[in-house]
Symmetry: C2
Subunit: 377 residues, 2 copies
């Protein structure tokens, strides 16, 4: 059987683990490294699918947990699947719901069978097993599904992390067995193991053994210091097969994108661009700016003078600040569009730099203007 | 001096006061009768200017009171005027602020000089005279400005209505005198007079005397029964010059649009399409539907099966209901777009019917499906 999603390795860097590649999916080919905007509830907040495509994004992430709770995967399946439901012709990656079950719901209780939890919307008691997660994702019809895992918090007891990763491995096997649409949807495994190098190695060896078509590094960017995250990542990616895509989950600040790419990551996702946009914060070549601030009331320059996006070509900081202050959602559309565009475009520049062997130099010139942020943002 | 805005009367109906015309403005020519979407705070809520234009709208209304309070007309003037500030290349009509001063602000006190009131945002004490209103509108740079008037409530004491309209006439004269950009912006007069026919006649004769380039009928749709509104309108429009545009303020339900056109009105504006869109209510050929309702959870038809708008071509009731339930603003974008499109398109069909002499027949066939609504909506 031919895998529905496969990775084409185009070029490896000489001076880092960075690589240029392509992820071929049933809904288009994605140039990597790539940033995937997040459409949690079957919409990238405030943006139309056409606008998401205009930013240059070809793949987005949607959340299994949220869609399971509302509207329910049966409705989306009846609509013809998630692509059709939300009118997005590009590729879709769905997470497993595991992370949200642990981070959003209350009164969760984990067992070998799965996780009992309460809906963060209705309070209703619910249960999700690996089989349930795969059944939901099969109903959604995403191009890339994720195995149901547990993401331990940071810091966590080493014994707990070990037991958790062993269970995540057993769950991964159950996910593979439960997968009903192997010719249409790819299932990626998730490497856990917290900040313990040997546990990362154990997790990787067990999951690589199962021969998934792609692998995520999970359990990072959960509160640990950035240098530690980079170290764990640098240790983990070489344990993964060279000819399969590597996905670093939940990471999307400009510094993390550079550091991830330099450590061999191909795919990233993060709510950051749309989340900060709602607070009136935007990326610019000179770092983040809070356009909501009074300083911009009479500033008729675009959000980012070096940007050629729809927002920057047509609107001023003063206008966008006015909209945000007046609670007009068009303001959040404009900042969201710009922020997604900024990260998608940054990845395009990173890909070009990889091709030209100048990624480290590009990183230096980028942060000379942007400023290097060590804070988690 | 050539008026910057003038009306071209193309055709008069045989069996009603309905007429086809064109309003020529510095920012485009508007086919009439026309519906103008409302962009209160320099944005038609949730929509981009491109989307507003895609609905077919060529002129929108913006609110002087709101823009005066926030961001302030000085900022908009500094941006190059309202068209440029909000990136809208079409025509703009600004109201005078009078209606909002009376309906939104608190502690207002009216005198011959103007109106003292408190900002509904900050509570700050403010004052607006006819000269102030015109100065604000001159700074905004709208194509059509409205004279500063008082709109009495319904019901109102006849003596009060009379004193009010006489003051509105004196204010209209002051507005004309204060107008600083007569070669770029047209100033329309507003006929008040409540539900008193003789006072309407008095107001019309005084304002027509002043030779404004266009006239609005104000003080209707303020709580009176619809038959009374239609009677007052039918009495008032023949008092206005045939070769100048007539604008019925704040009216936009489908039944009122038909009845207004049949009584010789050329221009309408209303927040109705965007306001009901935010509550999940949409116009369809079969009347209004509350798409937020549970009945639409598994309904994969478009909002209106007879509609060819962006929303109806690409999205289902089930998807839009999901977005509205999940508080995703893209849902309100989709309902807002559809509702504005519906009214703009309805006016296009009304114009065609006038041209073909079939307006009454079109009204009958439209409401045979839509249902006739007597309620104020």
């Amino acid at each position: 059987m031919k895998e529905p999603v496969h990775f084409e390795l185009l070029q490896e860097s000489q001076d880092s683990m960075a690589r240029r590649g392509r992820v071929h999916t049933p809904h288009g080919t994605i140039e990597t490294p790539v940033f995937m905007p997040v459409g949690t509830q079957a919409t990238v907040k405030t943006l139309s699918p056409e606008e998401v495509a205009q930013t240059g994004a070809g793949i987005l992430l949607s959340n299994t947990y949220h869609l399971h709770l509302r509207p329910g995967e049966d409705i989306i399946k009846e609509a013809g699947g998630l692509h059709r439901f939300m009118n997005w012709p590009g590729a879709i990656l769905t997470d497993s719901g595991g992370f949200q079950v642990f981070s959003l719901s209350s009164l969760r209780k984990i067992s070998e069978e799965g996780v009992a939890f309460r809906s963060h919307i209705s309070g209703e008691p619910l249960f999700m097993s690996p089989e349930d997660s795969i059944a939901v994702q099969n109903a959604l019809g995403s191009d890339i599904m994720m195995a149901f895992d547990e993401c331990p918090p940071y810091p966590a007891d080493r014994d707990y992390v070990e037991q958790s990763l062993l269970r995540t491995t057993r769950w991964a096997k159950r996910c593979l067995d439960a997968h009903q649409r192997k010719d249409e949807q790819a299932l990626f495994g998730i490497i856990q193991g917290g900040m313990e190098f040997d546990l990362r190695k154990l997790a990787a060896s067990q999951l690589v053994e199962m021969d998934f078509p792609g692998y995520a590094v999970g359990g990072l960017s959960v509160g640990e210091p950035k240098p530690l995250m980079y170290d764990v990542l640098e240790f983990t990616t070489p344990l993964l097969p060279k000819h399969k895509p590597r996905y670093l989950m939940g990471v999307g600040s400009p510094d993390d994108l550079f550091e991830g790419v330099l450590r061999g990551v191909d795919m990233f996702d993060c709510v950051l661009p749309t989340r900060i946009a709602r607070n009136g914060t935007v990326f610019t070549e000179k770092g983040k700016r809070v356009v909501r601030n009074a300083a911009f009331a009479r500033d008729f320059a675009p959000l980012d003078e070096s940007c050629d996006c729809y927002t920057c070509k047509n609107y001023s900081r003063a206008y966008i600040r006015h909209l945000l202050k007046a609670d007009e959602t068009f303001g959040i559309r404009l900042t969201s569009y710009h922020n997604v565009y900024f990260l998608v475009k940054l990845m395009e520049r990173i890909r070009n730099a990889i091709e030209q062997g100048t990624l480290r130099a590009f990183r230096a010139s980028f942060f000379a203007k942007y400023g290097y942020e060590q804070a988690n943002d």
